[in-house]
Amino acid sequence: MMHMTDDYIIQQIKANFGGSIQEISEPSGLLTIVVPKEKNIEVISWLFKNEELQFTFLTDLTGIHYPENKGMEMSIIYHLHSFVHNIRLRIKIFVSAENPVVPSMTPVFKSANWMERETYDFFGIIFQGHPNLKRILNMDEMDYFPMQKQYPLEDQQRDDKEDKFFGR
């Protein structure tokens, strides 16, 4: 088996999705590509089915909020792992905070089910086509998405902690 390099993966991805890849970088040595949100299923299922690359494992699926990044505040991150080559790949997509709707990854990876529920729970990202998109970790009564940056970390209901005693 040939030794798989990042350059080879970049070359393969460019050959198939050249026009739609928005960015390729390697922060901390982890190959990262940014694709448009409509392309997420297409790119990831191609990587999954590709008999050479074999990115058959979804290590993680999560979100991140960049409030300064106007028009594309919310990001969804997919970490793929190819066991055969022991190589990892990160795929990011960006959506606006006003309309954070992306296609669900559950048709490709069953394991995306709970991870997308968690991402919805904390970031409020709507995964279209998800079979059961409801909160998974926080209590059902919660009326906001706590990982969005506009919400403070601290519990807002308590009145016995004065900010000045807590260095705030």
């Binding site: 519990d155 308590r158 902690k161």
Partner: protein, 181 residues
């Protein structure tokens, strides 16, 4: 309890050769105080300290709490030890409501008492937000000696409270304030 060396458990009363007379309330209160069945509700490191408290070195059994009750139906004392997440809140409240009167609650450690260092959206900021608490034990986590001190404070309450605390208007108002019954 007539041996001179022994500390008397019931202090108020009339004592003579071969007899001791006191009120029924004192006797029942003493019996309750020295046979408390604790229900451990342990969620984190304070629970480990509680295990040490039950162990041979500190030996909670010396205070009459030999038997832990893992059913709330038979428990007298709910000991909440550790961080309670908001999602866990309704479970804790249900455990409390399943306990029969008379019942006491002890919040062990900073988290159960006030949320502790976890001043965050997902953690209940003290169990007294959802159930009434009799004794708070500070510490993060408290040492077994502190937990024993808390138990002794509970025993003082049990000995000196009215046997029918549950019938008092104050107690009823307290429970109503928490929306229990």
């Amino acid at each position: 309890m007539s041996t001179e060396n022994k500390q008397e458990i019931v202090s108020d009363g009339y004592k003579g050769p071969g007899f001791f007379a006191t009120t029924l309330e004192k006797v029942v209160g003493t019996a309750r105080a020295n046979s408390l069945w604790p229900l451990p509700y342990a969620t984190s490191c304070c629970g480990i300290e509680y295990m040490a408290t039950m162990g041979a070195n500190y030996d909670l059994a010396r205070f009459g709490s030999e038997r832990m009750s893992f059913s709330p139906r038979q428990a007298d004392l709910l000991m909440v030890m550790g961080t309670v997440a908001k999602k866990m809140g309704p479970v804790l409240k249900q455990v409390y409501t399943q306990m029969a009167e008379p019942r006491w609650v002890m919040a062990v450690g900073a988290c159960a008492s006030s949320g502790g260092i976890f001043d965050t959206y997902s953690v209940l900021q003290g169990i007294d937000k959802i159930i009434p608490v009799d004794v708070y034990v500070p510490g993060c986590p408290p040492r077994p000696e502190q937990i024993l001190d808390g138990i002794m404070k509970i025993q003082e309450l049990v000995k000196n409270e009215s046997l029918r605390r549950r019938n008092s208007t104050q107690y009823k108002e307290l429970l109503a304030g928490y929306g229990i019954e």
